[in-house]
Amino acid sequence: MIAAMGEELPLAGVRVLEIGGGLPAAFATRWMVGFGADVVRSEPARETLGRDEQAFLLPGKRRVGATPRELRALALAADIVVEDGEPGALAARGLDPTALRREKPSLVVASLTPFGQTGPAAGWRATNLVAHAMGGILSLTGVVPRPPLQNGFSQAWMLLGLNGFSAALAAYYGSLVHGEGDWIDLSAQECAAGMLELYGPRAAFERTEAPRLGNRVHAIWGIFKCEDGFAGVCALQRQAPAFFAMSGDPALADPRYLDPGYRLTVDVELGTHVARWFADKKKRDVLELGEKHKVPMGAVQTPLDLVHSAGLEERGFFDTVRTPSGDARVPGRPFEGLPWHVGELHGPAADTDAVRHDWLGARA
């Protein structure tokens, strides 16, 4: 494990107000609280997070039920406000970001929405799937002729929240250095549209269509059935010789397979050979071969596999969180090298008085 520098939590003393209560805002502030920020979650009118989402996203956060007037005061007492309401919802509650920023120039406001604060679709209704549809990734996932396929676990929202974390901290750093925060208008659609690997720029450059390729981009880049599940290889040209050599399979020994141009002409046939090679391998064997020969190879693992992973255990990846249903193991620090704090779950609005006291100076 890499030793953390210093003992003080990196965001100690930083006040973060989370408004909205959805998955994007809750994820954006999840790492902030672990790294020491005082994150106050203003309870939404209706809780939308499921119990597993709460176990992962809420540990360490203080939870308040605030009046509109108090909410405005809390926003002005905060360093960072993260919200995921509909465009204009904040202003409708007397919390217009521009006005807040005018009153407190150092404040950072991060607004997380499906399509952004402006534009003809800004007010469109959306779920995770609907937001995902507009970002391009959905069109690429799954296999023709079946429909485009969503990822597991609300990736449009999680991606939006992840961007919210990093972008809000960047703006906060700017506030520390330059004295002024900013209002960040983050759109789930734009977050996805800017990361379409080669397919996005290629379409813009060449107008080339990008089909849904399922699990096999080409013969040595994909996921294959193996004896005890699924495993995969992702070999670039520089790794192709090692992959073919380590296979020990006469069907993969044709020296012409080393030529990427030739491989493309026989991709289906070669893919059949590769699939056959995987079929009688166990995941563990695939991983060992990949490590030994420095070929990118993987195995499809489930969350259930991973909560028992010795490797993740040794790296101290999981936090244990006490929930009403028992102790949950959830991902803890996202990276090593800075101090991290494991928080406890708080009850709904349980910290209202304490936060009034700490942030607003009100007598409990």
């Binding site: 965001l11 920023r101 549809a133 996932t141 992702c234 969180v321 959830v330 090298g337």
Partner: protein
């Protein structure tokens, strides 16, 4: 003009392929000065992965490389040569951060591990983003984005549900997730350093940041021993929900009925008024039947027409934008989500503007990706103070260069 938040921050960028370069693209968009370092003998593979037919300088004309490396400067240095390493350490002394996404063992083998960097700059921030981290029994595994996705549990949660097959994301999803997290890690370490004066070595295992993206699944696994259920495009909270075929080849529209009210509006719109009184549990039980009714309606119209009609009726819906349609999308056009940056060696194309839209500081991409070695003189002479005459000697020794050695031979 208002300053960008990371103006004044310098990043020495050793990263290649996608995860690291995506992180440094974000940092560059936020105003950091990013110096991308490549060896004339070991350049960023993405430069030459998809050469343009007939291109005389394929390493400078790749849309793939140029899309993810804009707002950066290019310095070539052969780090396997002592003189190249020495120059790199001079740059480190003037940098706030070093970022690398080599395999776990490579940085030390190059002789520029964290302790060496600290000698050059005691408060340096090093972000290492090997696939499986710098420690632990799996540190020797090699991983690109799709491998990360498999090993982090993500692929296991994605599937149609009727074939038992896990699916990879259509992009190398692990890369940008690691990149966004790495950019956040850099800023977090800068915030901490401002207070403590201490640098940091961030060990960011891409597999671990990917696993965060399905965090609730680990609560389910540990509390109830649950394995992921492949739901296709459905969601137990909303029914019906799906991706439905629309008019035209491979055209689709995503639709969700978030509550009883949206279902009533959807049912009326698709001509299924007789079913509008169904509650969530009834809709879930009859999902296949409802899907057929909805698709009979969507098949008769284009995805955008279908989505706009449903949105007007008060239903969550959107066309599934493919990689061509997304560049023509009215919402993205209205928001100025694409920019065209002039490039000296190739034509322009629609590149994504910064997704981290700073309303006041206007975070927009400013400059095309650098040509190979374009800023050698600026960095080596201007920043590090070396004499112009040294450049020729460095070039002759293959330590710097303005073209990858051997790239023309493929």
């Amino acid at each position: 003009m208002k300053k960008l938040p990371l103006e004044g921050v310098r990043v020495a960028d050793l990263s290649m392929m996608w995860a690291g370069p995506f992180a440094t693209r974000l940092l560059g968009e936020m105003g950091a000065e990013v110096v991308k370092i490549e060896s004339p003998r070991a350049w960023d593979n993405v430069r030459t992965l998809l050469p343009q037919p007939g291109a005389t300088e394929p390493w400078n004309t790749s849309y793939y490389f140029n899309d993810y490396n804009r707002d950066k400067k290019s310095l070539t240095l052969d780090l396997s040569q002592p003189r190249g390493r020495a120059l790199f350490l001079e740059l480190v002394a003037k940098s706030d951060c070093v970022i690398e996404n080599y395999r776990a063992d490579v940085l030390d083998k190059l002789g520029i591990g964290y302790e060496v960097l600290r000698q050059a700059r005691p408060d340096v921030i090093l972000v290492s983003m090997a696939g499986f981290g710098k420690t632990g029994p799996e540190k020797g595994l090699v991983g690109f984005g799709p491998i990360i996705e498999q090993m982090a549990g993500m692929a296991s949660t994605t599937g149609y549900g009727d074939d038992g097959v896990p699916y990879k994301t259509g992009i190398s999803y692990g890369d940008p997730i690691g990149g966004i997290a790495a950019a956040g890690a850099v800023v977090l370490a800068l915030i901490a350093r401002r207070r403590t004066g201490l640098g940091a070595w961030i060990d960011l295992a891409q597999r671990e940041t990917m696993a965060q993206m399905l965090g609730p699944a680990f609560a389910a696994a540990s509390l109830r021993g649950e394995s992921p259920v492949h739901r296709g495009n459905r969601d137990p909270r909303f029914a019906p929900q799906g991706v439905y075929r629309a008019l035209g080849g491979d055209q689709w529209v995503a639709i969700s009925a978030r509550d009883d009210g949206e279902w009533r509006a959807l049912a009326r719109t698709v001509g299924a008024s007789a079913l509008e009184s169904l509650d969530l549990s009834e809709r879930s039980a009859r999902h296949d039947e409802l899907d057929r009714r909805i698709e009979a309606w969507t098949l008769a119209r284009g995805p955008r027409e279908a989505a706009e009609t449903l949105q007007r009726a008060g239903v969550a819906a959107a066309p599934v934008l493919d990689c061509n349609a997304i560049h023509e999308d009215p919402q993205l056009a209205a928001r100025g989500s694409w920019v065209e940056l002039p490039h000296p060696k190739t034509k322009t194309w629609k590149q994504p503007a910064s997704a981290w839209r700073l309303v006041e500081a206007k975070s927009l991409p400013r400059r095309h990706a650098p040509l190979f070695g374009e800023h050698n003189r600026e960095i080596l002479c201007g920043l590090l103070g070396h004499a112009e005459r040294e450049l020729a000697a460095l070039s002759a020794a293959g330590i710097i260069g303005d073209a990858p050695i051997g790239a023309r031979e493929g």
